[in-house]
Amino acid sequence: MNDLLRRYGPVLSILFAALTAFWLLALVVLPDLYLFENSFRPYLPISEVGGPKDFYSFDNYLTFFHSPIHIQVFVWTIVYSTVVTVLCFVIAYPLAYYLSKVARSNLLPTLFLLILVPLWVSEVLRSFAWFIILALKGPLNILLLGIGVIDQPIRWLTGFRGVIIGLVYTYVLFMLFPLYNAIQSLDTNQIEAAEDLGSPWWRTHWRVILPHAKPGIASGSVMVFMLSAGSILVPTLLASTSSRWFTEIIQQWMFESQDWNTGSAYAFMLLLLCTIFVSVVMRLFRVKLSDIAK
């Protein structure tokens, strides 16, 4: 704070602080608090708001537990978000290892540019692009048929396949960068020491590199999982009728039923249950919150 004052003077410093406070309070905290408060109140016609029927209860939250379909959608959302997280790890780990320990350092700027360029295109466009790529008579099937990998076109957009592909593509970088940072901070001598002691490559990864990268794996996984479970765009564009995502139910409550109260309750349920799920998984893998913060 003193540093800020010295550098920019009182007027600018106060402006910075005020803008940050405004953003946090008015644009993050207050709307959430408003929704949180609303989630405990019933959905009533305007005339009855503030009337005798308008009291706090857990009814909106209980709605979730009384609808098996919603619970099922929630479970699928958790399961497939986990699948997305694992796939992101499987894709990002070798790449992160390559970038941090194998690639020549003069190649890195080019490689990172190649990785980042797709991010410059809006998520909506990228999802639509996948919609086209994955279509029954789309380029992917034509390619696979052409090189003879398959003899029947695959229906990519049934079930959760399209959603998984879209989410992995959208969020894989959130796994890559924490992993890259974690592996890069490993002393290369340790990898060589393991090899010198006779270790084959897979054991060096298992015993030396992966344990070191654990905090990076944890923070990448938490990010990918939470972003996937909370994603609305990709499931809306790439899901089929048989694959609904929990966020779509929240959206339906809010925009189709106009019931913001139940919608809010569902949104907080999602946050709460995902947090519990993540905490349990972190406990299972013996990751502490402080590891992630590193």
């Binding site: 340790q190 060589e192 020491a193 393991a194 090899e195 010198d196 002691l197 006779g198 084959p200 054991r203």
Partner: protein
Amino acid sequence: MSAGVDLDNVCADFGSFRAVDRVTVHIKPGEFFSFLGPSGCGKTTILRMVSGFIRPSEGKITIGGQDMRDIRPNQRPTALIFQNLALFPLMPVWENIAFGLEVRGVDRKARRDRAEELLRLVDLPGAADKTIGQLSGGQKQRVAIARALAVEPKVMLLDEPLSALDLKLRQHMRAELRAIQKRTNVTFIYITHDQGEALAMSDRVGVMSQGRLQQVSAPQDIYNQPVNGFVASFVGENNIFAGKIGNISSNMAQFETSVGTFKATIGPDAGTAHNPKLYVRPEHARLVAKPVNGENAIAVEIADVAFEGNFISIQARDAHGGILVAEARNDGQGSVPSPGEKLHMVFDAERAVILADETPAANATP
């Protein structure tokens, strides 16, 4: 148990830079061999070639008679101790030591027993369950040695492992390393820029400069009979005089310098060198009031006297202002000259040697 290491005309190129230039040396089984040289002389590159992390650009490396050309580091009978030790911080001490055995499929109980046994060998019993972070510098050193010994290497490679320790511990670990080497009879290849370490621990020392091996000899020969100016000045101190060679008679020659003409021993290849110099070690120079006729003598004025306890180091200025150093043992009764005193520095022809500069640098070779 131990194996010899042969380097045959080994070169290492990094782009257009030649880090190691035609090094040939035969290290005997069970020998404690040191590569000594300033940083950047190529000694670490040699070690990494022997361990397999760098491929020689030319030449052949054999260990125990077996060509190492296509053998990966994890298949070589060597164990490397890294300069920063590279212990695994997330494993307890015993797992660090037993890692090489884990790789070889030894069961957990046997691994643990072997780790404890090695901890006793390196004088660190009871540390098995500590974490690496709980150890002091010297203890980490011992764990690194134990970890390397656990795989029963035929050749142990040490990359300046003592450089991070403080002076006292370093001297202690020197003796310790030497003792472990004798006990295990493993071939040790030791890399250092510290001449004291190399001379005190090794059976033989290879002095390197600019990618080239300058001299391979027993420590006392490196010090007493350096083959060229680089070895003479890198190992120990010298008074160095530029000049040119006059009359040569058998292994002696007249050497003409700006402060006089001296009789001196002529070193290898010095007779034909284009820029020979005369080297006189401070401990071979004496200060006298009146030189004997025909003796090598330089008129000097005492500049500074440093009393070091067991010896006295005297700096003196010659007629051109050049600083010369003489060292005398303190026998407890000799008088110490005082600054300003005018004396003569004398030295025996047998103890003064004319040497060529080092072998031409790798990159300068046509």
